[in-house]
Amino acid sequence: MPSLKDLKNRISSVKSTQKITKAKQMVAAAKLRRAEERAKEARPYTERMEAVLANLARSAEGNPNAPKLLAGTGKDETHLLIVATADKGLCGGFNASIVRLARERITKLQGEGKKVRILAVGRKGDDMLKRLYGEMIVWKKNFLDVKQVGFVEAHEIAGKVLEMFDAGEFDVATLFYGKFVNVVSQVPTAQKVIPAEAPEGVEAPDLKGAIYDYEPDENEILRALLPRYIGVQIFRALLENVASEQAASMTAMDNATRNAGEMIDKLTLQYNRARQAQITKELIEIISGAEAL
């Protein structure tokens, strides 16, 4: 039976924890709003880029000179997994679920006898993966010292990926991130980025019989566009990741705050009971002392 003082200490400790989780929840809510806004602002570029690429890819189809980024290397031996997670914790199962998805993929690929390399973006994913697959991580990147993840960071990652691809270090690249569906639902997603898949459902613009002019030529543009397209996809994944992280954090902190509240209630009840028991005990002692006289 804990003493009254113990209980009092525990109540105040839980109270301060609750204050922290509450604050974190509010911070996450504010950051989520901003992250959603940025994801929305980036959308037009992505959409246009997809339309342009779909257009070009259609004309490059079946072309033997099509760039490798679009057609693939013709092999399927080495896979690069780009695992994008958050740098910080306190966001529920967000990081763990992305890592789990990546791990399932790794096990499956290894079972098929394929080589796997990992590019860890975000500190948490790196922490979790390096225990099991430390020797597979070829490059890591975190944004701890970056205030707001921008296109520059995505560009850097894309640059590294392309450099490795040019050096023939992998055949297929897959990007893992948390897709932001809404505040309560974030889905860990695996998306193939190399070879680039032309987005579906984009309709060709009606040219009214005219033909596209390319300057410089078609292949040249495609060659310049594909690396950017990959950069854009990574950028979008990073933005979605930020929004998902904040949403997951908000939900997790909301739960934590509620749990702390329940715990405080329970402890307060226990404290009051103990206090009353002590008073009763003291009264009995006084009364029986008086009777004995």
């Binding site: 602002e41 037009p44 246009r48 342009v52 070009l56 613009p205 300057e215 410089p216 543009i221 854009v232």
Partner: protein
């Protein structure tokens, strides 16, 4: 509005402009392109430089660096890697862009890339001189 050109300028981080205008001049890698309404479909890579937009008697300029322009019957779309309205542009930013471009020239491993990088660098220097 048949005699207006629908113009969109988007950078990865946001949409900078979406309007109906009269004429837009864009810096293509192969030279300047003046785009008027009903231009033939065209797709081009962009060098660094100023995009000039004319609406009636108003003119505005936006600095872009790298990217693409697509002209379709729906209008002109500029996908710029970096974009900045003229008003936000200053000597320091240009100097930085020039440094980046110089690095690009140094890093270029093929003649084609080198040429493209050199062109961007030249147009940036021109811009610096004009400012």
């Amino acid at each position: 509005m048949a005699d207006k050109l629908h113009f969109n300028l988007v950078s990865p981080e946001k949409e900078l402009m979406s309007a109906d205008v009269d004429q837009v001049d864009i810096p293509g890698t192969e030279g300047w392109i003046g785009v008027l309404p009903n231009h033939a479909p065209l797709m081009t890579a962009l060098a660094a430089g100023m995009v000039r937009i004319r609406t009636g008697n108003d003119q505005s300029r936006i600095f872009v660096r790298g990217g693409f322009a697509e002209i379709s019957p729906a209008g002109l779309t500029v996908l710029a890697e970096q974009a900045m309205p003229e008003t936000e542009l200053d000597a320091a930013k240009i100097a930085k862009a020039i440094r980046d471009a110089e690095e690009d020239v140094a890093d270029a491993d093929t003649d084609e890339k080198k040429l493209a990088a050199q062109q961007s660098l030249d147009s940036l220097k021109e811009l610096q001189a004009a400012l």
